[in-house]
C-alpha cells in the first residue's frame, strides 16, 4: 500500500506588498494532471502584476480555487497528492 501525502500549493504570504486581493488568471494544468516539482502551475494577478505559482512537489494536482476566482496571500489554491512507496 502506498502512502499518500497531500502537499498544499500556497500563495506565498509575501508574494506582493499591499494587502490586496488577487485573482487566478490562468491555470496551466488541468485538475487531476500529473505535475513535476518546479512546473509552472498558475498565474495570479495582484494590481496588474502577474506572479507565477510553481509546483512545490511532484504528484497529482487537485485544484481547489478556479480560474478567475479571488485569492489572498497565504491561500491554498490546490493540493498535490504525492505518492511514496
Amino acid at each position: 500500500m502506498t502512502d499518500e501525502t497531500a502537499q498544499a500549493v500556497r500563495i506565498p504570504v509575501d508574494l506582493w506588498e499591499e494587502d490586496v486581493e488577487a485573482v487566478i488568471t490562468t491555470w496551466f494544468v488541468s485538475g487531476e494532471a500529473e505535475v513535476d516539482q518546479g512546473d509552472l502551475l498558475a498565474e495570479v494577478m495582484a494590481e496588474k502584476i502577474q506572479f507565477e505559482i510553481v509546483a512545490p512537489a511532484s504528484g497529482i494536482l487537485n485544484i481547489m480555487v478556479q480560474q478567475d476566482e479571488l485569492v489572498e496571500k497565504g491561500d491554498t489554491i490546490a493540493t498535490i497528492t504525492v505518492s511514496s512507496n
Binding site: T26, F28, S30, A33, V35, E43
Partner: protein, 340 residues
C-alpha cells in the same frame, strides 16, 4: 507514456516559439518598443531579454518609421527580424515601410531579394481602449499583395504559426488578439490557453481548421471570433441546430478550398469578423464561395462583423458593437430559417 499536459497562454507560446527559434538560428532577433526587460506590454517576449541580451532583443525608440524600415533593410541583408508593432493601430506611422517596401521588394527585385521579416502586432478591443487602440485591421493587411497574414486563435496555433512565420522567407504579419494573450489586466478568453508541446513544431500558414464539426451551417471566423463561434455552436446545439466552426488561422494565403468544402456540406454560411464589416474579410470569404459555385448555398450568407464605425470608447457602446455569441446564434438561426 503520453507527454505531460502543459498549457500555455498565447503570450507564453509566442515567447517560447521565439526563444526556441532564436536558439536554433543566430540570424533571428527581436526589436520593438518595450520588448526587452519588460517582456512586451502583452507578455509575448517574456524571458527573451534574460536569455539573449540586448543585442538580439532590442528596445527601440518610439520611431516606427525608422525601425520598420530597418527591419526591411536587415531582412534583405540576411537577418531574420521579428519586429513588434505594439498596436496594429500604429500602422499609420510606418505603413510605407510595410506597404511599399516590405511587401513589395521581393517583387520589385524580380525575386532576387527576400525580406524574411515577421511583424508581430496586437489587435482587438472590448476593454474600452478607444478607437485608436482597439482595431483589428485584418482587411487592411490582407489587402496587400506580397504580405502573408496570420491570425492565431489559441496557444497551440500561436506557437506553431509563429515558428512557421519566422522560418518563412516571405514577410509575414502575425496579428495576435489582445484578449487571447493571457494578460490578466485585459481579461482573457480561457479557451485560448491550451496544451502546447514543448518541442518545436510548425503549423502551416494558409491552412484553415475545422474546430467543431456540424452539418446545418458553417461559421467561418478567426482570432477571438472563433471562441464566440464555439460558444454560439454550443447554444445552437441546444436549439437543435448543428454548426460547423471553421478557424481560418491565416488570411494570406486564404484557404478557400476548406471554406468551400465546408459550405458545400452545410449549404449555409455565417462569417464572424471583429474587423469593420465593409470591404474586408467577411466580404472576401463570402465572395470566394459565391464566385465558385452559388448553387451550393441554401440561403443568403450572413456576416457578424464590426459595424462601419470608429470604435467607441463607452463600455456599453463598444460591447453593443462587438461580435458575440448571441449575434452569431441569431445569424445562424436566420440562415437555417429556424427563427420562426
Amino acid at each position: 507514456m503520453a507527454a505531460k499536459e502543459r498549457k500555455l497562454t498565447v503570450a507564453r507560446a509566442m515567447a517560447e516559439a521565439m526563444s526556441q527559434e532564436m536558439r536554433a538560428d543566430e540570424q533571428v532577433f527581436v526589436m520593438g518598443e518595450d520588448v526587452g526587460p519588460l517582456g512586451g506590454v502583452f507578455g509575448n517576449t517574456r524571458g527573451l531579454y534574460e536569455e539573449f541580451g540586448k543585442e538580439r532583443v532590442r528596445d527601440t525608440p518610439i520611431s516606427e518609421t525608422a525601425f520598420m524600415g530597418a527591419a526591411v533593410g536587415a531582412a534583405a541583408d540576411g537577418m531574420r527580424p521579428i519586429v513588434e508593432l505594439m498596436f496594429v493601430d500604429f500602422f499609420g506611422v510606418c505603413f510605407d515601410a510595410i506597404y511599399n517596401l516590405m511587401a513589395k521588394n521581393t517583387y520589385f527585385s524580380g525575386g532576387n531579394i527576400n525580406v524574411p521579416a515577421v511583424i508581430m502586432t496586437s489587435t482587438g478591443g472590448g476593454y474600452s481602449d478607444g478607437g485608436q487602440h482597439s482595431q483589428c485591421l485584418y482587411g487592411t493587411f490582407a489587402h496587400l499583395p506580397g504580405m502573408k497574414v496570420v491570425v492565431p486563435s489559441n496557444a497551440f496555433d500561436a506557437k506553431g504559426m509563429l515558428t512557421a512565420a519566422i522560418r518563412d522567407n516571405s514577410p509575414v504579419i502575425y496579428m495576435f488578439h489582445k484578449g487571447l494573450q493571457g494578460m490578466g489586466w485585459l481579461g482573457t478568453e480561457a479557451g485560448a490557453t491550451v496544451n502546447v508541446p514543448e518541442e518545436q513544431y510548425t503549423v502551416e500558414i494558409g491552412k484553415a481548421a475545422t474546430v467543431s464539426e456540424g452539418h446545418d451551417v458553417t461559421i467561418v471566423s478567426l482570432g477571438m471570433g472563433v471562441h464566440h463561434s464555439l460558444r454560439a455552436a454550443a447554444l445552437l446545439q441546444e436549439k437543435g441546430v448543428s454548426a460547423e466552426v471553421v478557424d481560418l488561422r491565416a488570411l494570406v494565403p486564404l484557404d478557400r478550398d476548406h471554406i468551400f468544402e465546408s459550405v458545400k456540406k452545410t449549404g449555409r454560411l455565417v462569417v464572424v469578423d471583429e474587423d469593420y464589416q465593409s470591404y474586408g474579410v467577411s466580404g472576401e470569404v463570402i465572395a470566394s464561395v459565391v464566385e465558385r459555385d452559388i448553387s451550393i448555398l441554401k440561403a443568403a450568407p450572413q456576416r457578424v462583423a464590426y459595424p462601419d464605425i470608429p470604435i467607441p470608447f463607452a463600455h456599453h457602446m463598444e460591447q453593443w458593437a462587438l461580435p458575440n455569441a448571441e449575434k452569431i446564434v441569431s445569424a445562424c438561426l436566420e440562415v437555417t430559417h429556424s427563427d420562426g
